[in-house]
C-alpha cells in the first residue's frame, strides 16, 4: 500500500481526474473531500462488506420450499 502524509487542506490526485482533499482532522476522525467524475463510484468499504456479508447469509439458507412461504407486508422504517 502506498502511504502519503498530508496536512489539513492539502490534496492529492488519483489518475487524471480524481482529486482527494483532506478537509478536517480531529482525533480519531478525518473528513475527506472527493472530486471525481460522475461515473466514479465512491462507496464506504464497510457498506460493501455489509452487503457482501448479507448476501452470504442469504445464500446459506435458501434450501426451502418456495411455495410454502407466506408473508405479511410491513411499512418501511427509513433510517
Amino acid at each position: 500500500m502506498l502511504v502519503l502524509t498530508r496536512r489539513e487542506g492539502e490534496t492529492f490526485r488519483l489518475g487524471d481526474d480524481i482529486e482527494i482533499e483532506i478537509l478536517d482532522i480531529k482525533p480519531g476522525v478525518v473528513r475527506v473531500g472527493i472530486r471525481a467524475p460522475r461515473h466514479v463510484r465512491v462507496l464506504r468499504s464497510e457498506l460493501l462488506e455489509a452487503v457482501a456479508a448479507a448476501n452470504h447469509e442469504a445464500a446459506a439458507r435458501h434450501a426451502i420450499d418456495l411455495a410454502s412461504i407466506t408473508v405479511e407486508a410491513k411499512p418501511v422504517a427509513r433510517g
Binding site: R38, R41, L48, N55, A59, H62, K74
Partner: protein, 137 residues
C-alpha cells in the same frame, strides 16, 4: 432439448458482468420461479449450490422508494425506466425465529431487455439492510 424449452430457459437467465458483492466471480444466474410463490430463487450457474431468495419489494415493503443512480443503471444498459425490474434479496432468519429480512439497502436491478443485472448499493438513502417481514414457512 426442444427449441421451446431452450427459449424459456434463456428468458430466465440473468447475467451479472460485475458479479454481486460477496460473489465477485459469479456471472450467470437462473431465476427459478413458481407461479404462485412470493419468492423466486436466483441460482448461480457456475456454482449451483449458491442461491439467493429474491422478491419484488413493492407489496412487501410499502413506502419503499429507492433512488437508483443513472450511472449504475447505465452499467447494465438501461435506457428507459421500463427496462428495469427490481428484486431484493431475502434472508431467512436462523431457527426458531421464522422472520424473513429483505435487503432494501442494496436492491438487484435487472435490465429485462438485456437480462443483465447489478446489485446497487444505495448509500445515504436510509433504506434498511434488514427489513423484517412476518412470514410463515
Amino acid at each position: 432439448m426442444q427449441v421451446d424449452q431452450l427459449h424459456l430457459d434463456q428468458l430466465q437467465v440473468v447475467q451479472t458482468p460485475d458479479g454481486l458483492p460477496g460473489f465477485d466471480r459469479a456471472r450467470e444466474w437462473v431465476l427459478e420461479q413458481d407461479d404462485d410463490a412470493v419468492f423466486a430463487l436466483l441460482r448461480n450457474v457456475e456454482q449451483p449450490s449458491i442461491g439467493l431468495l429474491v422478491t419484488e419489494p413493492w407489496d412487501l415493503a410499502p413506502g419503499y422508494e429507492p433512488d437508483l443512480p443513472d450511472d449504475e443503471l447505465a452499467r447494465i444498459g438501461v435506457e428507459e425506466a421500463a427496462d428495469v425490474q427490481l428484486l431484493v434479496v431475502a434472508t431467512i432468519a436462523a431457527e426458531p425465529d421464522a422472520a424473513i429480512w429483505l435487503n432494501l439497502a442494496a436492491p438487484i436491478t435487472v435490465n429485462v431487455r438485456t437480462r443483465q443485472a447489478r446489485q446497487v448499493i444505495l448509500d445515504r438513502q436510509g433504506w434498511p439492510l434488514r427489513h423484517p417481514v412476518a412470514a410463515r414457512h
